[in-house]
Symmetry: C2
Subunit: 240 residues, 2 copies
DNA sequence: CGAGGGTTTGAAGTGCATCAAATAGTGTGG
DNA sequence: CCACACTATTTGATGCACTTCAAACCCTCG
């Protein structure tokens, strides 16, 4: 069991480059759990005990405003880490987390994280790198929301889902339902539907349910990225 | 000279809590320069040599899209640090920096920064804390852009300019010209002007040029923060 | 006084949200 | 395998917020 967790942790960018001893230390205090769709892992403002690494499934991070609106912070899947920043927030979770597709999730006590940061220089540096990567992503996100319109945001999202390897074609499967994609991109489901239609007309992609076929990635990229400061393939903005 | 820089560095949150030896090491390789309005400090994509700490004046960080639009990343003043993240970006500046109000700026070679991170555990931890604070700010920023309308965003901006100390009244001076405030808040100058008008009607603030008088902070806060997940005074979201 | 920037105002257009309703899709029990 | 219930998605109609383009205004400074 512990060994499985060890191997798995190594796959996450968050822990990449760490020595085996560190990974092992963390695995021994780690727990793996299954959760079904809809499970609320924690609520913003709650006292934080652990942070999490996703092994499978999807998790939505969000906040709610005083008058009931919801802002989706992020939607994460395998190898992503969340809840770790609460150690800088007085051990309070800064957002809520809900399982949106059945998930297997590893939890590790925050005390173990603090311990590594305090006593393990390599760990602190690794976390710094990871934090910086995320920070860069957020800057991109702000830019996208400011400068791209709905069809362009969808196009950009699709591009990031493609495996860069392909020549000029690609087939993409939406990772979760369209309503969720819409919220991830900061728009209404209706807007998403219509914007996808416009994107289709503008770039010749083919939409069949949750599957999307792209003939000319070039064309999609030109349409979406003209309003963005970084050109496709959006540099190295891979996830945590 | 070096001593002046030392004292100054200590004031920045970025260096807070560091021991004198560290501060001293950094000061010896630091340089202070004066810049006039309009000076372009560096351009996105350029090879990064140094990072910067502002002693006085204002600096705008921004990026430009392929079709010429500009996205303002941030507008910074005294004690703020910028350009430091390029060490995680292959020594490339991820944005451009322009002086928008005559400024005194300290520059420190990135090599010195890397050196501290590699060899000084306390420094790495301090930077982690600073990074986390900034990350949190960005999350707030995304939320504001998504959920608040123009008048609310202005209200929120004003609230963050007030010294929390005051009872229920405050007088605020806009830190830079209104066009810049508008871009900082992600709106057009015309929209800013009109939205400020609406905010005036809705909350009873008084606008006299660049000076704004608030009688009931309560009222302003209620108007602006209802669409936001964190209540005024926006927790501890003070700057770097 | 006059030039030039910043700021405001007006009019018109665009994009997204909202509300309402139709349609497609999925899983259930018979 | 079908009918039903329920949800996801699409489509239509309308409204509001912000942008855009244009022009007026204001203020400062030579």
């Amino acid at each position: 069991m512990t060994e499985m967790v060890q191997n798995f942790l190594k796959e996450s960018l968050f822990f990449s480059g760490l020595d085996d001893a560190t990974i092992k230390r963390l695995s021994t205090v780690a727990h793996l759990h299954d959760y079904e769709k809809g499970k609320l892992l924690f609520v913003a403002g709650e006292r934080a005990q652990s942070f999490f690494i996703i092994r499978a499934g999807w998790v939505k991070l969000f906040r709610e405003t005083l008058d009931g609106d919801q802002a989706v912070v992020d939607i994460l899947t395998a190898r992503h880490v969340f809840g770790e920043t609460s150690i800088f927030e007085n051990d309070i979770y800064p957002y809520s987390a809900e399982v949106v597709e059945p998930a297997k999730i590893v939890s590790i006590p925050l005390s173990a994280l603090k311990n590594e940061i305090e006593n393990n220089h390599a760990f602190a540096v690794a976390m710094l790198t990871s934090m910086s990567r995320y920070r860069r992503q957020q800057e991109e996100e702000i830019e996208h929301r400011t400068l791209q319109n709905a069809p362009q945001r969808i196009g950009c999202f699709l591009l990031r889902l493609t495996d860069q390897a392909t020549d000029g074609q690609a087939r993409v499967n939406l990772p979760y339902d369209k309503t969720l994609v819409a919220s991830r991109l900061g728009m209404q489901p209706e807007t998403f539907s219509r914007a996808l239609g416009k994107l289709k007309d503008a770039t010749g992609i083919r939409v069949k349910g949750a599957t999307i076929e792209i003939d000319k990635i070039e064309e999609l990229s030109e349409f979406s990225c003209s309003a963005c400061s970084s050109e496709f393939p959006c540099k190295d903005l891979k996830r945590r």
